[in-house]
């Protein structure tokens, strides 16, 4: 190869690299700027929110909006409710889905395919179709405006995904593991808890993180199946801040950030495992 051809290839390589970086930066601004603006607004006084020209950091930079939210019992109650509901949903979903996933992974039984197809199709049933009968059902069962009402209804969306992901995970574990327990006289129950559960912890964490996120973000049922502010969750709390007196934009943004922290943290901690499980589920589900 001549020197000139080499230089040409090198130039083309540099150009391609510059092009990709430019593209990535533009895309990054599109993705990131709205979030930066939310963050910036949460540190302003409400009077400076629509300052013209806009500034990322104003003279009134302070943590007042956060202190306002964190010092308000009603707002804290939204967080408490969200944590209670999301943790309960996560634990119950993992428990129920683990048993179901175990059945699908380790047993052959009549109607297996049919039951499996029902579980998969539940995922696409529109929440809005369910909300009218849920309202009737939850009121009839005396669960209106209670934690169990929210926990149970959230599970209808977390369970199918969790079952599919856990079944897939258990399928990757060799059968010899549970067979050896049975040779030692154990039952399928002991095989599940003594052998499979301990080595499934990574998979269960991924499913748990996803479950927590779904429950933490749920909006429609939280809106319709609760009535009083002491039962409402963070997404509804954010909406209530919007409705009240004038718009407290800085507090709305502070509450939004505080409300996003659990999911952001979970995602950053379990990023790799989570994306792996998610794409496997999304493509195959």
């Amino acid at each position: 190869m001549t020197g000139m051809a080499k230089t040409r290839i090198k130039t083309r390589h540099t150009l391609a690299k510059a092009g990709v970086i430019t593209g990535l930066v533009i895309g990054g601004l599109f993705a990131g700027l709205p979030i930066v603006w939310m963050l910036s607004t949460s540190f302003k006084s409400n009077g400076d929110v629509f300052q013209n020209p806009p500034n990322l950091i104003t003279d009134t930079f302070s943590l007042d909006a956060y202190l306002e939210i964190l010092g308000n019992g009603e707002q804290l109650r939204f967080f408490l409710n969200s944590y209670i509901v999301a943790f309960a949903v996560t634990i119950l979903t993992l428990l129920v889905a683990l048993l179901a996933g175990y059945a699908f992974s380790r047993f052959r039984f009549p109607f297996q395919r049919t039951i499996n197809a029902v579980i998969v199709s539940v995922q696409v049933v529109p929440p809005i179709t369910l909300v009218v009968p849920y309202f009737g059902l939850v009121v009839a069962l005396g669960l209106y405006n209670t934690y169990p009402g929210l926990i149970l209804t959230h599970m209808v969306f977390t369970l199918p995904y969790a079952i599919i992901m856990i079944t897939a995970y258990l399928n990757t574990l060799p059968r010899e593991l549970d067979e050896s327990v049975k040779i030692d006289g154990g039952t399928s129950w002991t095989a599940l808890w003594r052998v499979l559960v301990p080595i499934s912890v990574p998979g269960l964490i991924a499913v748990g993180v996803y479950t927590f996120m779904i429950s933490w973000n749920e909006y429609l049922f939280a809106l319709t199946l609760t009535r009083t502010n002491d039962m409402r969750t963070v997404p509804i709390g954010i909406q209530l801040l919007m409705g009240q007196h004038s718009y407290e934009w800085n507090q709305m943004m502070a509450m939004s950030i505080l409300g996003s922290i659990p999911v952001l943290l979970l995602f950053l901690l379990f990023q790799r495992r989570f994306i792996g499980g998610l794409t496997a589920g999304a493509v195959k589900a």
């Binding site: 990709v20 052959r108 998969v120 369970l159 909406q239």
Partner: protein
């Protein structure tokens, strides 16, 4: 079809039973056969109460006169369906939903694929790509309530979007993006595009990384350029993922309620009314639970049609 379908070659554990008397064996065999149903019973109980019963209930509601409010509703035939299907608001909602989901899905696909390909480049180092990947996933990590307030802030008549557009000379006066019937649907669609593309991107990135390098090398040997490789190697390889993601996205986007409800409430003048907000209003603003149920059943049927297409598509693979 699903990851839950296990390979049929796996030995059934039920056959392992042995020993004991004939009746004892039959008994043990029966118990053994019931074991998997035992493990499935909590799931089946929950799905019956939370899925089967409600769907039966909502179908029942949709054929009666005003349920829930009325103590003794009587059978009303197809009256509710006729009412919904001739309601101008419902037809507007149907049209808005069609625009909202098709534009959102198309944009999710284009953005998701573009970003996934940029993130898959060999020209940059792993750490740079990892940082960009986190930034690109960020919009997807915020709950819809947060997305709604962010975009209400940005799109406010005095907000930063108008400031930028005015400074660039693209618009003269501040536009009330969410307050005018002509722009509101596009504004909520834009917010939905922003919040939803990362899911496509993640799946397409995984699919891109799964394409064998041999295919590209063979194409390079044939003297193809970048565009030809994209059209003849990348796209055909991604096709199954793209189609299934697109159908799933159409289904999910059609279920979007919170974003619309918190950004515009379906207004102004029905310009952003969706099937979901229409149904919700019928039930919880108008207290017309029977027409709400009819609308809910129609939504379910439309979703079932999309899901049917999805399942058939998955089978073909």
């Amino acid at each position: 079809m699903t990851s839950a379908n296990v390979d049929p070659a796996a030995a059934p554990l039920t056959a392992a039973s042995a020993g004991g008397s004939a009746s004892g064996r039959r008994h043990a065999g029966l118990t053994r056969r019931l074991v998997p149903y035992g493990y499935l019973s909590p799931t089946m109980l929950l799905l019956t109460v939370l899925m089967v019963v409600p769907i039966v209930m909502v179908i029942g509601y949709s054929f009666r006169d005003n349920v829930i409010v009325n103590k003794n509703p009587v059978f009303a035939g197809l009256v509710n369906y006729a009412k919904v299907l001739t309601d101008a608001d419902f037809l507007a909602a149907l049209q808005n939903t069609a625009v909202f989901i098709s534009v959102s899905t198309a944009a999710h696909l284009v953005l998701g694929l573009t970003f996934a390909m940029m993130l898959n480049t060999k020209l940059l180092g792993g750490i740079t790509k990892a940082v960009f990947r986190i930034v690109y996933i960020l919009p997807w990590l915020f709950t819809i309530a947060v997305i709604a307030v962010i975009w209400r802030l940005l799109l406010d008549p005095a907000g930063v979007v108008n400031y930028v557009l005015q400074t660039l000379g693209l618009i003269q006066d501040g536009v009330s993006w969410l307050g005018e019937p002509g722009t509101a649907l596009w504004a909520v669609t834009f917010a939905n595009i922003w919040s939803g593309y990362p899911f496509f991107m993640i799946s397409l990135l995984a699919a891109l990384q799964g394409i064998s390098a041999d295919l590209y090398e063979a194409a390079a040997v044939d003297g193809t350029n970048w565009l030809q490789r994209f059209v003849h190697v990348t796209l055909p390889q991604l096709r199954p993922v793209i189609i299934s993601m697109a159908v799933l996205d159409l289904i999910w986007t059609s279920q979007q309620f919170a974003l619309i409800w918190m950004m515009t409430g379906g207004g102004p003048l029905n310009s952003t009314e969706m099937l979901s907000t229409y149904t919700y209003k019928q039930a919880f603003s108008e207290y017309e639970f029977a027409t709400a149920s009819a609308a809910a059943v129609i939504v379910l049927l439309l979703t079932a049609a999309l899901a049917f297409f999805y399942v058939r598509q998955q089978r073909e693979q």
